[in-house]
Symmetry: C2
């Protein structure tokens, strides 16, 4: 077992500096000449000067007639002057040249036509409605500085100024080599032990967005010679090369050895989480970056180490993304040993931004899709306390956040449906939903982190849903409960129900997967168990927790567990069988004043829409209230 243990891990900024210093002029931008008509979004390599003036000559600024101003001097309302065609005036349209002896233009609207010519009723001073040569652009004038990103209007002005070719910085070609014996193309049907190759496609898009030209190579198996050959060939055809993955220190991680052979490795291992196993090297005078395999690690390695190279090659200024201050909703502990990038969802609740951490694993790519930004915990920092104000680097804009309805609480697939329907509305409102169970949602609302909380908490004493929980959590506050959906809960079992499970009693003899503490479904289970007189200890797997209905269904589907409690739609989505246990009320809790928010209004409108109703019917297992009832709870 030969492994490449990293000697050290270097802080992010130090690693970046070492690398950029070492590369030096290897990554300097290089100019090329292209047609102005192809230059949108490219970066000027030098200042651009006008070749012609615009207008090119004195020209009519209006439709009308060109006149000799001195011959109009005595015209007035009471004594109009007659101008004769060919002699005193010529007809001009906007843009026509005004040539001597003509030196002014009178608008068509101010003329009275007669058989002999036109009558005018006021004098035209010299240069009236004439655009003098160079009024807009003067030949020799600087139109654009260097390092300028070309916009549509620039293209128009460059052409008007006689510039048809322009020097811009070249777009670097970036070779991408996916490696790994276990890796398969997305188009194949993957089997156990195979991993779908998706990173290289993400890299292609990231490189395009940053002004480079991605060149993806075929997947190379974990074979030292094959990888070496592919890297050398890619170096020959590109300005830089990315190798993914094999950058770590596993038995089959050859990249670092190969790069040491054919070039120089400046950094192996960076104090960043996720993303530690990065290789920063040079071979054949070109940068080679080894990127780790986990998607989030890969993304961060690209952002931290490949983007600066692209920006240098393309002459772009490194864009500083938008950073906001937000209240942290949960404690975040991090190691002193690295800089950690924690993905967060952000919402604007009660006039302040609140951010909630998402899954932190390097493999949790979906958390990147869901996230609104990164909360970066610096190296040498242990983390942040809940309620602390932290900086968040946003992926999007604050305008988007300001139109986001923050929903925290119990999970149900219907939230995805609402979210999708919202995206089709013209208002630009988004639903951000986080699933931490009913009670967790109400606690989040209590802390001012959510606009609405989906909840299905049964009061075992009264059999009434949610109301008593709200009263005890929000004493004296004006709350409302939106009652719109009832859904069927039950036991999710394997297709064909091979263990013959028929009800709660059977849970004693199978492997169960439970929901997390505070989840309404777990409360329901506890209630059903107590009715049946079954102690929790009798259930194998009572302590195994899954965070959503779909996660429960996935565990059953994979055979990890024999069954779990959940909603019909989750069983249906994963093609599993379902034994109904009972119907429950899935309500939405909010402060009464929130009913006035445009985001809440949109949510309620969609909840009552025909489109929502028919989508729910497709999912199955739901009953809709008609009309939706809003109950005030004081």
């Amino acid at each position: 077992m030969k492994r490449n243990l990293y000697l050290t891990t270097i802080p992010v900024d130090e690693a970046k500096k070492i690398y950029l210093d070492a590369l030096g002029d290897d990554i300097s931008p290089r100019p090329e000449i292209i047609d102005v008509t192809d230059s949108l979004g490219r970066i000027t390599a030098e200042a651009v000067y006008a070749k012609f003036s615009s207008p090119l000559y004195n020209s009519a600024a209006m439709d009308g007639i060109a006149v000799i101003s001195s011959r109009t001097n005595w015209a007035s309302e009471s004594s109009p002057v007659l101008l004769r065609p060919g002699e005193d005036y010529v007809i001009v349209d906007t843009g026509d040249p005004i040539r001597k002896p003509y030196d002014a233009v009178i608008m068509a609207e101010d003329l009275q036509e007669t058989p002999d010519g036109v009558l005018i009723r006021s004098s035209a001073p010299a240069w009236q409605h004439v655009r003098p040569l160079g009024e807009d652009i003067i030949s020799g004038e600087m139109i654009l500085t260097g390092h300028h990103k070309i916009r549509p209007i620039d293209i128009g002005v460059l052409l008007s100024g006689g510039v048809t070719k322009i020097a811009v910085f070249t777009q670097p070609r970036v070779g991408i080599i996916p490696t790994g014996t276990e890796i398969v193309e997305p188009y194949d049907d993957p089997k156990e032990g195979e991993i779908i190759e998706s990173n290289s496609r993400m890299f292609e898009a990231m490189i395009r967005e940053n002004g480079g030209i991605p060149v993806r190579y075929d997947i190379v198996r974990d074979d030292r010679d094959a990888i070496r050959e592919s890297v050398l060939s890619a170096l020959n055809e590109n300005d830089m090369v990315i190798v993914n993955a094999g950058s770590s220190a596993g038995t089959e991680d050859f990249t670092v050895h190969i790069l040491r052979e054919i070039g120089e490795v400046f950094v192996h291992g960076v104090a960043i989480k996720p993303g530690k196993p990065v290789i920063l090297a040079r071979a054949c005078g070109k940068p080679v970056v080894g990127i780790p395999g986990y998607p989030v690690s890969a993304y961060l390695a690209m952002e931290n180490f490949v983007y600066p190279l692209l920006h240098s090659f393309t002459g772009r200024m490194e864009s500083e993304g938008k950073t906001i201050q937000a209240v942290l909703s949960r404690r975040l502990v991090s190691s002193l040993k690295h800089r950690e990038y924690v993905r967060v969802r952000v919402g604007r609740v009660g006039g302040r931004y609140v951010c909630a951490p998402l899954a932190r694993g390097a493999g949790a790519a979906m958390s990147m899709v869901r996230a609104d930004g990164f909360c970066i915990i610096p190296q040498e920092t242990e983390g942040y306390e809940a309620g602390e104000m932290v900086s968040v680097d946003l992926f999007g804009t604050t305008e988007e956040l300001d139109k986001t309805l923050v929903c925290i609480g119990s999970h149900d697939l219907l939230l995805d449906i609402i979210s999708d329907l919202m995206s089709g509305e013209s208002e630009g409102i988004r639903l951000s939903s986080t699933h931490i169970g009913s009670l967790g949602g109400l606690m989040a609302m209590k802390r001012g982190e959510a606009h609405i909380s989906p909840s299905h908490l049964l009061d075992e004493k009264t059999g009434i849903y949610n109301e008593s929980y709200i009263r005890s959590l929000f004493p004296g506050e004006k709350m409302v409960l939106v009652k719109a959906v009832r859904r069927i809960q039950g036991i999710i079992v394997a297709k064909g129900n091979p263990l013959g499970i028929t009800g709660i009693e059977d849970l004693k003899r199978v492997r169960f997967v439970n929901r997390q503490r505070g989840a309404g479904t777990r409360v329901l289970l506890d209630y059903k168990l107590s009715l049946a007189g079954i102690p929790k200890e009798a259930i194998d797997g009572y302590e195994t927790e899954a965070a959503t209905h779909m996660a429960v269904a996935a565990q059953v589907a994979s055979g990890e567990a024999d069954c779990g409690m959940g909603v019909y739609s989750a069983a249906h989505a994963m093609d599993l069988d379902f034994i109904p246990v009972g119907e429950e009320e899935y309500d939405f809790v909010m402060h009464k004043e929130s009913l006035e928010m445009p985001e809440v209004k949109c949510f309620l409108r969609l909840l009552g829409s025909e489109a929502f109703r028919s989508k729910l019917e497709e999912l199955g297992g739901y009953t809709l209230e008609d009309p939706i009832r809003i109950i005030e709870i004081a």
Copy 2:
């Protein structure tokens, strides 16, 4: 003279509503299926659900060994447990499947190798370092909603989730027809009476930026049949068509007649300035928009009427640009009859944004290049007073504005050089320079609108530049004067000096072009005239004003004037002759505290740089102070 006078002009928003309502489903987005790998930036046509889970199976989260957790139970520091290969463990790398009976992973770093196997010193609980099936993505889970703009990370997650094809909205094809007998392609060498066709190229870029596919047709001369034929053919091949120009009411503006024949015209003439002569029509069930010819009018017509169509076709939300509040530096008068878009430069001076109006003509395309945004004066509003707080719709970001050095005052080509040098620095600092003459610049600084003011105001009594002006304008304030550049002023004359001009005396016998009131060059002229005993009235053209040195040179080059006062570099740039009159001091005025600004520091550093020195030598006519002197004026 047949002209199409507009019957009415309609307010912008009303015109837009009439048009969108009339088009209805003609501009609805249409789905198409494409490869996920080609989907960057496209808009999802419907929600996308995962086909596979990720990971596809229980897999190792670390490099190490897969073990049976129950067999590790008794391991501790004091009593290590020996695990035998093949029996108790198998070697795994990150991502490898963990199959029964193995149910946990121990990291390579925690193992001690022995001849018989490995020793472990702590127990491994079940599922340690194992990523369970579906940890990241669960099959059937919604990955993206509809109407979502696809990002690089989305592509990665879609592929990981087994999605290789995706439904997105089609990119509409937009036919662009440039019309006009006087229009020539940019590649030709234009003669008097010809206009370079540049709008269609700007349109191409604008359409691309908004998700459409531009299809540009050849220029069509002003011939009714030829235009009609081109429009019909473009309608056949595209989803919508743009005709430019001929949308006005001139003698040769055929577009509206043609569109009435082959379709329906909903709006002709909109209450917008610039941009009034817009045609909004439909033919063959497709939108046809007639766009006016002036570049700024064309830009605004595109933004107001074509972008909404593109957004509808592509399913994009209309992005609301960034709007800021800024203090208006000059009075802006506008008509009640239309909504006016005034281009403004914006700077952050003394903690507030200040905006200064630029040229307002519809033909002033260069003002769009220079502008930071639009100040929109609504219809039914007469305008704004100087000092009023107004809204500005920005083209870029506030981050850019916050790094902009605002320079208002005397014009010199060296400001362009500094601006270009700045663009090559890594700090992202920009120079925004506005030319309103030396005295105008000092007044702007007085009002808190500028960081620095270039000035060359001669005190005729003392022969000292600038100091007395600063003392009288800024009594009691701590000001500094940066003395860096002396430049040669003189008389700019036609190539070869055909009129034999040798000095100030000769101005009496030629046509002169002067600079505007408050310009240092005009002060210098007045001083020289008074020394020579020549009355201003004796100079033909003393009242003709040009705003910059280059504008003076342009008038001489075109023959509008025989000569004018200006700097050598302007004469040189336009290949004119130059009769030196004297050297003057071109200084930079600022508040003393401004010396601490990073933007000013960057400016001063560049002013003293070798690169600047050599560029100035190329221009000619300058002497540089070495070192730069900073004089305090109290």
